[in-house]
């Protein structure tokens, strides 16, 4: 074989693997795992005890929930990815990382980004797009650090001493390329100030880009890098090669090809063109094949080694991780069937689904990696196998106590939403009844989260003890023959190997083409908005005051609990628009930068809330939700009555909207503030008549203006018709 000849004919190099960066990322993933999950526990408790926001705006659910999601995805899992990649890549390529300097910049840059997120999200500095909440300066920093990671990754691959690229490296390459593309396309935003911007896209376009991003963030941040780690660490931990390397080749290409198309399944029955919804469903169902191919490949690697699984906590974690991956990737395609989605969407079923993936797949695989690597890097044995097994069982119970109540809650609430009396009225016409019913489930879920988190503390203790007992190996010595320069593959070598397996740069380009075409075909047609989004003549841009109110709505993260998307179901139009029975139309969102459709209804949909209640109702409700809705779990927002809406930046906001294509006249930029003041005065006067003394400059006035405008434009059709006559 040519490889053997090569090694015989050349002398061996001695080199050292860098363990410092790996260790740093491992420490970071542990610390941020604890922080992210603690914040998760806090938000879980807020469902049962809304006062657990401690009366502060910085810790209300709407701001802390994005902190939880960002912390676990980008800090916990992100650092976990980098730890695994930096460890395995060096060994699979038989070389040290290309540059220690770049490794350091990557590590510290990423931690600074996390710090910036941890400060800005509680302050309410958010773009209002799920899983992409960070504002533009942080977005730019992410792009730069990601490039640093990419350069380090590719240069390491280029100077490798192993000619073949193991499949794990393919997954790392696809991760780098696709996350870069997703992040850049979804983060197109127009800055109007430091830490304030508007999404470049509006309404349906914004929703489609966002969920193309959101879904593929799951695919290429939470899945492909972890599959790479699976293909490395399962063989390592079990001491046997992967079950079928041939299957892993098909797994890789099929997965990255199909995944990129599946995003629209997040928007079924929403105001999205039907062809896009169907496309999303078809590709989601197809995803079962590669996902299960990969899962079975991982599990079957352990065939004949199940006796080891009984003893070894690392293998236990790996088996449950891969099993959870299999469950979540079976469930996902099922949920993307329209009939199932009609039940699952907007409910806690989604929360259960993502936590099977998050707690089971990402969490347990990270723990397995930590238990495997820390003793190795510290050249010692694990402090306590018993504690590791304890962690495994607490963690598994935690997942069950988390997921089962959430499935239960999701089904219960969804069925209650859809329950009709024989006379055609809703049985549970008060939304709050459907929430009160599932509060015990929320309490159980918090208990599950607490169990899972306790397990992580047990692990942290175990690992600290392990590290203390050993001595850290800042680098490991290795030997390998260098690759021959000017090496020519045998004539009978196969094309796939010539084209891909030896050529990382070509691999990058092809991966990019593959995901690029998928993304483009999905998104390009919605750029052709005229044909895909029917315009509605009565839909007009927001007034400057409403725009300010909308910014407050975004800042407070209202979209984390309230949707603005009434699906075309009888149960929804009867509930949310009992008079006119209007579901949400694509044309109603053309001025929404960003869109605020939301993905979860902890509270009712708000798309037709405009005009439903008097201003005074909103005034009382925002001050003390339970005064208007006894039993509500919405927190009070007293600071809206003290803070002033943003007069200074109002002209900039209107100018920015003009740039984005919202039809305000040029002169209106200068009139914006006075226009807003007049509208605010009218609302304040109205409230005064109801005995509520409020200054027109307070934030609550702007928010009321926005809420009262929501979904009302479509009702002005008759008015326009009269005028036209």
């Amino acid at each position: 074989m040519s490889d053997n000849n090569e090694q015989l004919s050349a002398g061996k190099d001695t080199f050292y693997y860098d363990n410092v960066t790996v260790r740093n990322f491992l420490v970071a993933t542990t610390i941020f795992g604890i922080i992210g999950m603690t914040v998760g526990l806090l938000v879980a408790i807020q469902f049962v005890f809304p006062e657990a926001n401690f009366g502060m705006q910085y810790t209300t659910f709407g701001r802390v929930r994005p902190l939880h999601t960002n912390a676990v995805i980008f800090a916990f899992v992100g650092n976990g990815i980098f730890a695994g990649v930096y460890y395995s890549l060096q060994r699979l390529c038989k070389t040290r990382m290309y540059s220690d300097f770049l490794s350091r910049i990557h590590f510290w840059g990423w931690q600074l980004i996390i710090l910036a997120a941890a400060i800005s999200l509680p302050l309410g500095l958010t773009t209002g797009k799920e899983y992409a909440e960070l504002e533009w300066p942080i977005d730019i920093a992410i792009a730069l650090i990601w490039v640093v990671f990419g350069v380090n990754l590719f240069m390491t691959i280029i100077k490798r001493r192993e000619r073949h690229l193991y499949v794990a490296i393919w997954f790392y390459i696809a991760t780098f390329v696709t996350v870069a593309m997703l992040h850049i396309v979804n983060s197109f935003e127009l800055p109007i100030a430091f830490m304030k911007s508007y999404s470049w896209y509006a309404g349906v376009q914004d929703a489609l880009v966002q969920w193309w991003y959101g879904h593929n963030a799951v695919a290429f941040f939470l899945t492909t890098p972890y599959l790479g780690l699976m293909y490395y660490f399962i063989p390592k931990a079990s001491g046997r090669p992967i079950y079928s390397y041939r299957l892993s080749i098909i797994h890789f290409w099929a997965l990255i090809f199909i995944y990129i198309w599946a995003g629209p399944h997040h928007l079924l029955y929403n105001a999205l063109p039907d062809w896009a919804q169907s496309l999303g469903v078809v590709f989601s169902v197809m995803l079962i094949a590669p996902s299960w191919g990969g899962m079975l490949n991982g599990l079957l690697t352990l065939r004949g080694a199940w006796d080891q699984v009984r003893e070894d906590a690392i293998l236990k974690f790996l088996v449950v991780a891969v099993t959870c991956y299999g469950m979540a990737t079976f469930e996902g395609p099922m949920m993307s069937l329209k009939s199932v989605n009609a039940i699952a969407h907007f409910t806690d079923w989604i929360i259960a689904h993502v936590h099977i993936g998050g707690l089971g797949w990402n969490g347990f695989l990270t723990f397995a990696m930590l238990y495997y690597l820390i003793p190795k890097l510290y050249n010692t044995q694990l402090f306590s196998k018993k504690l590791a097994n304890t962690h495994f069982w607490i963690g598994t119970l935690g997942i069950i106590f988390y997921a089962v109540p959430m499935y239960w809650a999701g089904f219960t609430q969804s069925l209650m939403w859809k329950q009709f009396n024989p006379d055609g009225t809703l049985v549970y016409s008060n939304f709050l009844e459907t929430v009160s019913q599932i509060i015990p489930m929320y309490a159980l879920r918090a208990f599950g989260g607490l169990l899972y988190l306790s397990g992580v503390f047990v692990m942290a203790y175990n690992l600290v003890k392990t590290a203390r007992a050993g001595s850290f190996q800042s680098q490991s010595k290795a030997e390998a023959a260098p690759l021959l320069k000017g090496y020519q593959p045998d004539a009978n070598e196969h094309w796939h190997r010539k084209i891909f397996e030896w050529k990382p740069v070509r691999m990058l380009v092809w991966s990019l083409i593959l995901v690029g075409i998928g993304g483009a075909i999905e998104i390009i047609p919605t750029f052709l908005v005229q044909s895909n989004v029917p315009t509605i003549s009565t839909v007009k841009p927001y007034t400057p005051l409403e725009l300010n109110g909308r910014d407050i709505y975004i800042r407070e993260g209202c979209y984390t609990c309230h949707s603005q998307m009434i699906r075309p179901f009888r149960s929804e139009v009867v509930r949310y628009d009992p008079n006119d029975l209007e579901y949400s139309k694509a044309g109603e969102y053309v001025y929404d930068h960003p869109f605020q459709w939301g993905s979860k209804r902890t509270g009712p949909d708000l798309h037709r809330v405009g005009g439903k209640y008097p201003d005074s109702w909103h005034y009382y409700h925002m001050l003390e939700p339970t005064s208007m809705s006894p039993g509500s779990i919405m927190p009070p927002y007293p600071w809206l009555y003290k803070q002033y809406w943003d007069k200074a930046r109002t002209p900039d906001k209107i100018a920015a909207m003009r740039t984005l294509g919202v039809p305000y006249s040029e002169a209106f930029v200068d009139e914006a503030v006075s226009d807003a003041e007049v509208q605010a005065q009218t609302i304040a006067d109205g409230l005064n008549k109801d005995g509520l003394a409020v200054s027109p400059d307070k934030e609550i006035v702007a928010l009321i203006a926005y809420l009262q405008r929501l979904g009302t434009d479509i009702k002005n059709v008759e008015e326009v018709a009269v005028k036209e006559k």
């Binding site: 050292y16 197109f188 090669p241 041939r246 098909i250 290795a478 190997r497």
Partner: protein
């Protein structure tokens, strides 16, 4: 800027056939991939699959 992109996309003649072309391309790609996977040399596959198992450092020492 998006307007710029949008305009050009709108004016691509026959953009409808693009999805069809992509479908054919990918179909061919996956058929070829499957053929390759089944015909690939057993020894090479075995060598690649064993890479993670052969990467232990020769000795552990503090440097």
């Amino acid at each position: 800027m998006l307007k710029f992109i949008k305009h050009h996309l709108e004016t691509i003649a026959g953009i409808e056939v693009f999805p069809l072309i992509s479908l054919i391309l990918f179909f061919v790609f996956f058929v070829a991939l499957t053929l390759y996977v089944f015909r690939a040399d057993r020894k090479v596959i075995k060598h690649i699959a064993a890479i993670p198992l052969n990467d232990e450092p020769i000795e552990d020492e503090e440097n």
